[in-house]
């Protein structure tokens, strides 16, 4: 599982060597440090743990607290002191900011944006040392915050290779965060390495799927939507689904329906059903008329046959539901659906539209609306959907049921309501 372990230390070692060679590695603890404890400014030893040394900066902090400075002046002096601390003794300052014992007292200082930027800058100067401090557990439950800063600092400083090298030895939460950060702006080579990590040290990660989504998002950007490039050689179904979903949400919204169908046809068959479901949740152009044309185009291009019947029904249903708004005019909507040439798909769309209408008009008005629709297949399909949302046993329900002309449909509605009555006590008409 941890096949990354072999090559990672090599990479790390080479960087250590390079840093020493260039004279860029500052010796830790270069700030003055003196033993002390129980001073004001830092907490008493009890919850602080094992014999830490606090240097001159701590004493200055104590001095400031006791000084006559007030308000903004005090805050300015405190900030200046803490910034100096960060620059001279990053290890000590990180401990002050993030060790559980002092975190709360210095949180508002450390979260201030200039201070955070300074911390990141310093972290990028001594990345490997900081990573060791992080791994040592010094920061307790705040470890994730520090490694987040560290990852962001290094990536911004062009040292994503070090972050990549750290992923296998990071904690679970860190792995997910670091991979997310890396993916955001990864170049092709880094992204390929992230992909290898997904099969290596991250193969059993509980949030691997989320990381695959981050990976897929960047992969689609780098491939600029080229489907062949995306899917060739990728066998992992989770990653394939992520590539497909990300491709859909990047490439398709805004396109006219014919063009969407044309592009969907580029997708490999195994991901099409999932992709179509993803598409159902996107903001499609042209609302309900657009949905109707897309459903028709799908049939024209024989794309339905790549999906199972249930998958198709689910996706069509979602698409209609998502595009439905409670102001949609039923007669206009039914007119659009009449253009769908596949009768089965048309039936699903009509029924879903009826359900959506019924759910948003539980206060009645059905008979009035039915009056505006010409009898026939369109109205029946829509009406069946509305009836499925009704509780039954009232006058409106009885009248509407009477208007449903298609006997088969009527039978199915009754059966489904019996199976899943909207209110207790629904009974089929005898």
């Amino acid at each position: 599982m941890r096949r990354g372990l072999l090559w990672i230390p090599v990479l790390v070692a080479s960087h250590v060597a390079a840093y020493f060679a260039m004279g860029g590695f500052r010796t830790e603890g270069s700030g003055t440090r003196q033993a002390g404890g129980g001073q004001e400014g830092v907490p008493t030893a009890k919850y602080r743990g094992r014999g830490e040394a606090w240097g001159g900066h701590a004493r200055l902090l104590q001095g400031l607290a006791a000084s006559q400075l007030t308000g903004e002046e005090y805050q300015r002096a405190r900030t200046a002191l803490l910034k100096d601390w960060v620059k001279r003794d990053l290890r000590g300052a990180l401990k002050l900011f993030y060790a559980p014992e002092t975190w709360g007292a210095f949180r508002s200082d450390s979260e201030e944006s200039e201070m955070e930027a300074l911390v990141r800058e310093e972290m990028a100067r001594q990345p490997l040392a900081v990573w060791e401090w992080i791994r040592s557990g010094t920061y307790g439950s705040n470890r994730g915050d520090v490694s987040n800063l560290w990852g962001a600092a290094l990536i911004a400083d062009g040292k994503s290779d070090l972050v990549l090298a750290a992923v296998p030895e990071a904690s679970r939460g860190e792995q997910e965060n670091l991979v997310g950060k890396l993916c955001k702006n990864a170049k092709a080579a880094d992204l390929a390495q992230i992909r290898r990590l997904l099969d290596g040290p991250l193969a059993d990660h509980p949030d691997r799927e989320d990381m695959a989504i981050d990976y897929g998002q960047r992969r689609v950007v780098l491939a600029d939507g080229n489907v062949t490039e995306l899917f060739t050689g990728e066998e992992d179904p989770i990653v394939r689904d992520s590539l497909c979903d990300n491709w859909i949400s990047r490439e398709l919204p805004g396109l006219p329906p014919e063009r969407i169908a044309e592009r969907l046809a580029e997708l490999p068959g195994d991901v099409l059903a999932g992709g179509f479901l993803e598409l159902a949740g996107e903001d499609l152009r042209d609302g309900m008329p657009g949905v109707a044309s897309l459903l028709d185009e799908m049939g024209r291009r024989s794309l339905w046959k790549e999906m199972g019947e249930d998958e198709r029904a689910e996706a069509v249903g979602h698409m209609v539901e998502y595009a439905y708004e409670d102001y949609v005019d039923p007669s206009e909507m039914l007119g659009h659906f009449a253009t769908i040439s596949d009768p089965a798909v048309r039936g699903i769309a009509l029924e879903k539209a009826g359900e959506a209408w019924g759910n948003s008009h539980s206060d009645g008005g059905l008979i009035e609306v039915l009056g505006t629709l010409p009898p026939g297949e369109q109205r029946d399909g829509f009406l069946a959907g509305v009836l499925l949302t009704m509780s039954g046993e009232d006058e409106e329900f009885e009248t509407a049921m009477g208007m449903l002309e298609n006997g088969e449909l009527k039978e199915r509605v009754v059966k489904e309501l019996e199976k899943d009555p909207k209110v207790d006590g629904f009974h089929a008409e005898e």
Binding site: A18, L60, L64, A80, G104, G254, L255, R285, D286
Partner: protein, 468 residues
């Protein structure tokens, strides 16, 4: 090795370019060695002068304009934009934005093909200003062509077009919308440009003509919430909106008229929503508190109580002593521990205006984050119901005390007994986040806790063996 060399170079450059950042630091050179050269005196002197703000940042738009003048006429603008957007972590440069602007002027379709995708892939909106400028200077009449030519940029185009139309006449907006092919696009543009009664007045019949039935109903639905809706009724009726939509519009106007507006008062609902630090008081206590002379009961101080923050808070809990302002300010700056805060409150309470429990609770609340252990030691010595006071403040301390420190504190405070259920829940909640991110470290921390009700609770919560 190339990579390593560049790192080294970056480090060297960084060190060479370092300049003093703060006033305090600037002064430190004169001081004697302490904290690595910094002295208290230097800090205090430095604090009197506000930090010198950096050179006045030149307006970004102006920098874009200047950059445009520098780009040669024969430059490959697309290449410049692509090169300037490779590193998405870096801030967008004025030069890149300038190149995009010029690209739009010369070949809007090509620029939008890039810009539309870019808009989807990143959160950056720097290009929008240029697109808006392009639309304002002659691009708007071509909006419909651009939408057809680059459907991927549709969302960006509609958003920027509506921004560009903000300052133009309504007639122009209707004209631009009217050229769009799709009724959905027309609806979206109109909804965002003419989203209030004042704008639509006199234009409703034309708007209706640009929309299909569903779109017309959607537009009318948007107007239902407008404060001018009543004044639009006749025009809406005359414009031929779909009947169902019209009915709903009329009903919403009736409803609004019946609504008893602006009826926010103190009631059972908001009294009950008061945060932890005031819990345990009855409503009549509360009314007493609110009737401190000079503090009128109004929406603002009710909000302050509901937030559990704000300047009115200390006054409202019964310590309206002006001298305490300094104490509260220093306490919120993390400068004083609970014991000091308490001493200061006590010293300012010569006429006995503040109750003992209130003073202890405020000192506890404001000072605990500075030093939890010392606070507990002090609190124990205050006598009274110190455990229940502690339990009262703990729920609000999520961002002030790390879970492992709080856990030790709670274990210590309730040695031999059990903290309230709420305290246990608050802790297991904090630990849960840590457990998920770093199970091993979190488990180890739980195991290290002293035996007691909390440890048992956490072990059980996270399905851990008692001994391991």
């Amino acid at each position: 090795m190339l990579l390593a060399a560049s790192h080294g170079a970056a480090l060297w450059l960084g060190a060479a370019q370092r300049v003093p950042v703060t006033a305090g630091e600037a002064a430190k050179a004169a001081g004697k060695a302490d904290g690595g050269g910094l002295t208290l005196q230097a800090l205090i002197e430095g604090s009197r002068q506000p930090e010198k703000a950096g050179e006045e940042e030149e307006d970004f738009d102006l920098r874009v304009q200047k950059a445009k003048d520098k780009i040669p006429a024969d430059a490959d603008l697309g290449a410049l934009v692509r090169a300037g957007t490779v590193d998405m972590e870096a801030a967008m440069s004025p030069e890149t934005v300038a190149a995009f602007g010029l690209w739009l002027d010369g070949d809007p379709v090509a620029a939008l093909r890039f810009g539309g995708k870019f808009y989807r892939d990143h959160d950056y909106s720097e290009f929008d200003e240029e697109l808006k400028r392009y639309l304002e200077r002659g691009g708007l009449p071509k909006l419909h062509e651009l939408m057809e030519a680059v459907p991927l940029a549709r969302e960006q185009l509609i958003n920027t077009a509506s921004a560009a139309l903000e300052d133009l006449s309504r007639a122009e907006a209707l004209q631009v919308a009217g050229r769009l092919k799709s009724p959905t696009d027309r609806l979206e543009l109109l909804k965002s440009v003419m989203d209030n009664g004042e704008d639509v007045k006199g234009n409703l019949s034309q708007i209706r003509g640009l929309l299909d039935k569903s779109g017309a109903a959607a537009f009318l639905q948007m107007l239902e919430s407008d404060s001018e809706a009543t004044g639009l009724l006749d025009e809406v009726r005359a414009a031929g909106f779909p009947e169902a939509a019209l009915k709903s519009f009329e009903a919403s106007i009736r409803e609004r008229e019946e609504e008893d507006s602006d009826s926010i008062g103190i009631n059972r609902g908001n009294i009950d929503a008061i945060p932890g630090f005031l819990r345990g008081r009855t409503n009549s206590d509360f009314i007493e508190v609110l009737q401190i002379p000079g503090i009128p009961i109004n929406r603002n101080n009710i909000d302050a109580i509901l937030d559990g923050r704000g300047a009115a808070r200390e006054s409202l809990v019964g310590i309206a002593i002006p001298e305490n302002e300094v104490v509260f300010a220093a306490a919120t700056q993390g400068r004083m521990g609970s014991q000091e805060i308490y001493a200061a409150l006590k010293a300012n309470n010569s006429n006995g205006q503040a109750g003992e429990r209130d003073m202890v609770r405020i000192a506890l609340d404001l000072g605990i984050r500075k030093d939890p252990a010392a606070t507990l030691e002090w609190l124990r010595g205050t006598g009274g119901d110190w455990q229940s006071l502690l339990a009262e403040v703990i729920p609000d301390k999520r961002r002030d005390i790390a879970p492992e420190v709080l856990a030790e504190l709670v274990t210590d405070a309730w040695k031999g007994g059990s903290p309230p259920e709420e305290t246990l829940d608050r802790l297991s909640h904090s630990y849960a986040r840590w457990f998920e991110a770093d199970g091993d470290a979190c488990s180890a921390s739980i195991r290290k806790l002293g035996d007691g009700a909390l440890k048992t609770h956490l072990l059980e919560k996270f399905g851990m063996e008692a001994t391991k």
